[in-house]
């Protein structure tokens, strides 16, 4: 079933023509045109809530377009704060966060709204709209990015099919299992073909089978050119991905490995 879903995912993305082509080109030539491919850049970022509560300390790293990065660390290491910075849900006390050439935290409301449409987000607690059905949750993300009713009617069933939720179309989140909710959250995150997917502990509330499925979907999305930032404290998940791993402790980056090691 998973293979079938991944094939559907390929078809879904294949239909996007120009987007895929440009993403693949960016991915393939990312090493050559390095300056162009930097998508996210953290520059001396600190987040201090109070003297006793420092979430991030002088964080520096960058993410190239098309990369799959796992950010690992214990609870309270600063992983979620890092994610919130990229979504402009938190402001740094010091330092800057760039998305391509734009300082995220200097954006006005309208520009920020546009930026968020370029990012798909998946969370441990799913963050679905509780009063909307599975169909409406995805349709809302499309409406927010200005898609027409026709586009919504054609794409939503398609994306629900690829996360295997066709039979949950008119179910509300409270009528779905944890795995189904997370697959729905992934469907919502990818529906607008974002350039970046942020997954904050997406497997935290899932059993191993569902966790494996979610990670496979994220890997496939990344293979198709979308940048993925994943935070987790699940060793098995990180090692199954086998890509770049940033390790955090007490708000600091203590390791940045290219080969998928989970060392704490």
């Amino acid at each position: 079933m998973l293979n079938n879903n991944i094939n559907l995912l390929v078809r879904f993305y294949s239909g996007l023509g120009g987007f895929i082509l440009s993403s693949c080109l960016k991915f393939l030539f990312s090493d050559i045109i390095d300056g162009y491919s930097i998508m996210i850049n953290f520059n001396n970022v600190s987040k201090v809530y109070s003297q006793d509560s420092v979430a991030l300390r002088d964080v520096n790293f960058s993410v190239s377009a098309g990369e799959f990065i796992s950010v690992v660390g214990h609870s309270g290491a600063g992983k979620s704060t890092l994610i919130k910075m990229v979504l402009a849900d938190e402001k740094p006390t010091e330092g800057t966060v760039f998305f391509e050439s734009v300082d995220i935290h200097k954006l006005g409301n309208k520009e920020l709204t546009k930026l968020r449409r370029r990012i798909g987000a998946v969370f441990q607690d799913f963050r679905l709209l509780p009063n909307k059905t599975a169909y409406e949750n995805i349709a809302f993300a499309m409406e927010a990015s200005g898609k027409t009713d026709e586009e919504i009617a054609s794409d939503v069933p398609h994306v629900l099919e690829l996360v295997d939720l066709t039979n949950r179309l008119s179910h509300f989140p409270h009528q779905m299992s944890g795995g189904e909710k997370q697959r729905l959250a992934i469907a919502r995150a990818i529906i607008n073909q974002p350039e970046l997917i942020i997954a904050d502990e997406p497997t935290g509330n899932l059993d191993p089978v569902n966790a494996f499925e979610v990670i496979q979907i994220l890997k496939k999305i990344n293979d198709l050119g979308t940048t993925v930032i994943l935070t987790t404290h699940n060793r098995g998940v990180v090692e199954s991905i086998g890509k770049r791993v940033i390790t955090m402790e007490k708000g600091k980056i203590i390791r940045d490995d290219k080969d998928g090691k989970y060392v704490i």
Partner: protein
């Protein structure tokens, strides 16, 4: 246009799915609108009572018995030219006598005494009503000044009763002013309290949706797209609450009309039916604005976080 259609549809869908929260908000707005509507009736009763009191106040010029009709008419014409004067009523000595006889028809000794005199002892008089109760003093002053009176008219006036009634008129005037001010302040306070309660109920309803609002922001929804459905929902609260309020007022005013007309000095049911559209419009506008503005303010708190 598509955006507007989606916002309106989302507002209706949210209203129906929020179930008990929506109906709680409707209930509170219904109470608020009932207070506003009741205050409209209260103001009407107050004004009607005050108007009735004002009606009882006038100035009367009593003429000497020998005064000529032409002189009295000239004075009447001059008085009617005063901007403060609302109306005048002239009662001739013959009419005054007839009224006196009618009033005392069962009082035999009085009628007999009148018959024995043989002549009409009553002079004519002129009732003057001012537009406002505080204008009687200026009319009285005007009557005293020479330039108002036609030549020789001083001699035709027996007395003007303003000075005798001055104390009563002054007290009545201050009571009416006080009652109007008090009525306005009480109305304002009640409306303010109702608005605060209604606003807080809507704020509570939206507080339950704060997570939803943050998710909408994260998926890149514009402020209008997030706030719009809540405002539509607020307008629906107001609309339904208006219908319920008017349905409550119907039997209530029927009861007040049939049982309390004498006590209140006016028929509330007649007032309700003759001003139905104005009352409906005021209540509807208050309900919709209250719902929409409260929702907009309540959502703004989470949108700007």
């Amino acid at each position: 246009m598509t955006e507007l259609k989606r916002i309106i549809k989302a507002g209706f869908v949210n209203f129906s799915r929020n179930g008990i929260i929506s109906w709680s908000a409707v209930l509170i707005i219904t109470i608020t609108l009932s207070v506003i509507g009741s205050l409209i009736f209260l103001q009407a009763v107050l004004h009607s009572s005050l108007d009735q009191m004002k009606e009882k106040v006038d100035i009367t010029i009593y003429f000497n018995t020998g005064a000529q009709d032409s002189e009295m008419m000239a004075l009447k014409a001059n008085i009617e030219k005063l901007p403060e004067v609302a109306s005048t009523e002239f009662v001739s000595s013959a009419e005054a006598l007839q009224t006196f006889r009618d009033r005392h028809k069962d009082d035999y000794p009085t009628i007999q005494a009148l018959d024995e005199i043989g002549i009409n002892p009553l002079g004519a008089f002129l009732n003057i009503k001012a537009k406002e109760i505080n204008q009687y003093e200026s009319i009285s002053n005007f009557l005293k000044s020479d330039n108002v009176l036609v030549s020789g008219s001083n001699s035709i006036i027996d007395k003007v009763n303003y000075n005798q009634n001055k104390l009563v008129i002054d007290r009545l005037s201050s009571i009416i002013n006080g009652a109007e001010k008090l009525g306005f302040i009480v109305t304002l306070i009640f409306i303010l309290i109702s608005l605060i309660i209604a606003y807080n109920t809507i704020r509570l309803a939206i507080f339950m949706s704060r997570e939803e609002i943050s998710v909408m922001r994260l998926v890149g929804a514009s402020k209008l797209r997030i706030r719009g459905p809540f405002m539509v929902e607020g307008a629906i609260y107001g609309l339904i609450a208006t219908v319920i309020t008017m349905l409550i007022f119907w039997p209530s005013t029927v009861w007040f009309g049939s049982h309390m007309t004498l006590f209140l000095g006016m028929n509330i049911y007649d007032y309700f039916t003759s001003n139905f559209f104005q009352i409906f419009f005021i209540v509807l506008l208050s309900g919709i604005l209250l719902g929409m503005i409260s929702s907009s303010f309540a959502v703004r708190r989470y949108l700007n976080k």
